[in-house]
């Protein structure tokens, strides 16, 4: 056990942190698969509108590697397939109906599972549709089954202070979690790392075997696996490191022992617009309405699947993302203020010290989606100094990406960028640094 202290980062005191109390959400009427959850995926649709699907039945496959498939997280009918520009599939919506039926699969005992070799395990994971739960660094894309990762990291921390904390909901799942760790650790010849929050006392963590445990301390984004990988086991050039969340590790074990696709997920419903932020027990890919109904304030709201700094904006009628364990709701900030730059700013939040609020810190503030300014050139360099958790100088990196200098970007460590969103948050010039850096990462991937 090693304690790793991450000093750089920033906790934004937004209101609406969840109580670690699990409530059963009503059964969602619809669930969906959204290819946008998977980086660089070119999906092929395997079903048509109107088809009936069982839970665990293949719905999409990866055109580049058809072994990787995405299965229906529920039993029902394909209600609709939404396309975006250039016929890109946005969402495949499944209307849940009738009794839940699973694709046949024999349950296995713990010993039988552990008797499987690496090849058999991989095949089962690919077949089950659970393989996409394992992602790789760099590029944060689905792991490639033929790669040999130099290490695998299991994230037992909430991604940010709003995320569902595995330490708070793994009770009763200890055995699954341990079996999951053993399954996962068989996929690599290297080490399997388990990262949990400093002081995490849950016995699922403290008694975890077949892995190296690390305690991580630090402000956001210490809970992001990309940041943990940078500090624990950064991949060398040409290597990949795989990562998966603790909740998904337990889900994988459940699949093996029950023979059924695990549909249940614990999700945090949080943010300043949520009436009683708490954890909800729901399904993978559930529609947001099933979670938010009656629990969110009136008025124009922004729904985000995932963290407020990293997640994807969805409609109020949208769906939870494949990997996400939080639904964040915050007010849209369209109100304008008279002579705002002269405001003393006792109620504004800034990571800088340019507002009176610095002198009167509060545990939480109501922060909305307003950009608080218009776009300018880079001016203030001190804004990014202590914020990047992976030792990148964001404004210099962004400039090298804009100049198209891939070599320089790599020296900056662009592939370590955790896409945590902090540099974009803090930028007083309102430059979308994250988007620029992400484009640099995409360019590197596309050039091979």
């Amino acid at each position: 056990l090693a304690l790793i202290r991450i000093t750089k980062g920033h906790d934004i005191p937004i209101a609406g942190r969840p109580q670690p109390r699990i409530i059963d959400a009503p059964r969602p009427a619809r669930v969906a698969l959204q290819p946008a959850d998977f980086r660089y995926l070119r999906p092929r649709l395997l079903v048509a509108e109107g088809d009936s699907v069982k839970t665990g039945a293949p719905v999409l496959e990866d055109k580049d590697d058809p072994r990787i498939r995405f299965v229906s997280p529920g039993t029902g009918k394909i209600a609709s397939v939404h396309y975006g520009e250039r016929r890109r599939i946005l969402e495949v919506i499944i209307e849940l109906s009738g009794e839940e039926q699973f694709l046949d699969n024999p349950p296995m005992t713990r010993e039988e599972v552990l008797g499987l070799d690496r090849f058999a395990l991989k095949n089962k994971l690919l077949q089950s549709g659970l393989w996409p739960l394992i992602r790789q660094r760099p590029f944060s894309k689905i792991a490639s089954p033929d790669d040999m990762p130099s290490a695998i990291l299991i994230n037992g921390m909430p991604a940010d202070p709003f995320d569902a904390d595995p330490g708070a909901f793994l009770s009763g799942m200890e055995e699954s979690f341990q079996l999951g760790i053993e399954i996962i650790s068989r996929l690599t010849d290297g080490k399997t790392h388990l990262c949990c929050a400093a002081g995490a006392s849950h016995k699922a963590f403290t008694q975890a075997a077949h892995c190296l445990r690390h305690e991580i301390a630090g402000p956001y984004p210490a809970g992001l696996p990309a940041v943990q990988i940078y500090h624990v086991c950064p991949p060398k050039a040409g290597e990949v490191v795989w990562y998966i969340s603790a909740q998904d590790v337990a889900a994988i074990a459940d699949y093996f022992t029950a023979g059924k696709y695990p549909t249940q997920r614990i999700v945090s419903l949080c943010g300043p617009s949520v009436l009683n932020p708490t954890y909800l027990r729901t399904r993978q890919g559930a529609c947001a309405e099933s979670l938010s109904d009656g629990r969110v304030q009136e008025g124009e709201q922004r729904y985000v699947t995932g963290g407020v700094l990293t997640g994807r904006k969805i409609a109020a009628t949208g769906f939870l993302g494949f990997y996400d364990s939080m639904l964040f709701v915050l007010p849209e900030g369209r109100t304008r203020e008279f002579l705002g730059f002269l405001h003393p700013g006792h109620d504004r939040y800034s990571a800088s010290r340019a507002f009176l609020s610095t002198l009167f810190p509060k545990a939480t503030r109501l922060i909305d989606t307003n950009k608080h300014g218009s776009v300018r050139n880079f001016v203030l360099n001190s804004a990014y100094e202590d914020i990047c958790p992976v030792d990148i100088l964001p404004q210099f990196l962004a400039k090298s990406v804009l100049a198209g200098d891939i070599e320089e970007s790599e020296k900056h460590g662009i592939l370590d960028c955790a896409e945590c969103g902090l540099c974009t948050f803090a930028c007083p010039s309102k430059i979308e640094l994250g988007r620029i850096i992400r484009k640099g990462i995409d360019d590197i991937r596309n050039e091979g």
Binding site: Y230, K236, G306, K313, L330, F338, F341, H372, R376, E385
Partner: protein
């Protein structure tokens, strides 16, 4: 408030694409966002943003400059009244000072602002708030007797060649206010240096303290004190000099605002000070009896006299033209401090070295940052490699 919002919305179509005044959109945008904060919301992650923006940032810098402006104005009046032998009450000083200073500031803002707007319209970018700082800093570096047309010529040069041709605030290599001052300094030397320019009274002679020291013998302090200037005067800023640069206490107040809000780099200010003190001490030590008087000037006088404090606090810290890496900022600041004293001491043509040393280090800043980045790459890669090997 609703009234303003309605008014703006009612004229908006005129300025948007296809409207009658489409070409004037940047002007509309500047006015609109000056009055009301923009209603823009984030489009994608991160969904929340920091409250700090350029308007706020530049307002704070202007706020930090105000002490210099106020004390500078008072002192300009004081010097003029003293020269005339008139009674110098506080109110009289301020009024006399305002009469001399206000036209300079107004011309600087008006002419510079005109260029700013013209470029914004032609190049279709927003009007940059950075000009609010440049337009106030520049007048404070000028002698109070400067003819207004020179102010106009200077600020035009500073804004156009110092900033706009590079692409506006954020793209410039040199500090625009200092570029403007350098232009006036070299183009119209008679109006910028010499003995007659430091008081807002016609025909009155009187050198600056640094000028006195440059010509003095091995005891420059008594030479300065014999002109009636004490260290306390230098600290308070009640001595002849450029309008806003004289008061160490006003600069210190500005430095406090900039450092407390995190907008000015304390590393640059601190290293600048260290550089100057170190260099002055060194020169004191090597100066012989034949050396120019200023080489014997004690370090503390160097700090309080001339534009050192003003340059350190407001000019050297300009985040656009300064070094941006942390390590680079130390080198940059030390360089400015040392070079300033070196110029003052060994180049008799320029008793004031701050402007030239800052401009010189502005030019070197990208090179300094380049070096600091190479170091950063090395240490980062080494640290990362150690971790990769350890696992």
């Amino acid at each position: 408030l609703k009234f303003i919002e309605d008014k703006i919305e009612s004229v908006r179509p005129l300025f948007e694409k296809g409207g009658k005044f489409e070409k004037l959109y940047p002007l509309f945008e500047a006015k609109e966002t000056f009055l009301l904060t923009p209603a823009d919301v984030t489009k994608a992650a991160p969904h929340v943003r920091d409250a700090l923006d350029m308007k706020r940032l530049m307002s704070i810098v202007v706020l930090a400059i105000l002490p210099c402006f106020l004390i500078g104005t008072y002192n300009t009046g004081l010097q003029a009244l003293n020269a005339q032998g008139a009674p110098a009450g506080v109110l009289a000083c301020i009024l006399t000072g305002l009469r001399a200073v206000l036209p300079i500031v107004v011309v600087s803002y008006a002419v510079g602002g005109l260029w700013e707007v013209l470029f914004a319209l032609v190049r279709r970018h927003e009007i940059n708030e950075g000009f609010l700082v440049t337009g106030l800093l520049f007048p404070l570096t000028l002698p109070p007797s400067i003819p207004l047309w020179m102010v106009a010529a200077g600020i035009s040069f500073g804004v156009v060649l110092g900033k706009e041709i590079f692409g506006g605030t954020g793209m410039n290599v040199l500090n625009p206010a200092l570029t403007a001052r350098a232009f006036v300094f070299f183009a119209y030397p008679a109006a910028m240096s010499g003995e007659k320019v430091w008081r807002a009274v016609d025909g009155f002679s009187g050198a600056t303290a640094l000028g006195t020291a440059a010509l003095a013998g091995p005891d420059p302090v008594s030479a300065i004190q014999s002109t009636g200037i004490t260290l306390r005067d230098a600290f308070l800023g009640t001595i002849p000099g450029s309008i806003g640069e004289g008061s160490a206490i006003a600069c210190a107040l500005g430095a406090f605002i900039l450092i407390a809000t995190g907008i000015g780099s304390w590393r640059i200010m601190f290293s600048c000070l260290i550089g100057a003190l170190g260099m002055a001490t060194f020169i004191n030590a090597v100066a012989g009896p034949q050396s120019a008087g200023i080489m014997h000037l004690p370090p503390i006088w160097h700090i309080f006299l001339g534009g050192f404090m003003f340059g350190t606090v407001y000019m050297a810290t300009d985040p656009v033209s300064a070094a941006a890496t942390r390590a680079g900022q130390w080198v940059y600041g030390l360089g400015i401090g040392m070079l300033c004293i070196l110029i003052r001491c060994v180049n008799p043509a320029y008793p004031e070295g701050m402007m030239l040393s800052i401009l010189f280090l502005n030019i070197l800043a990208p090179l300094i940052d380049y070096g600091a980045l190479q170091m950063h790459f090395k240490t980062r890669a080494a640290r990362r490699f150690r971790r990769a090997r350890a696992q």
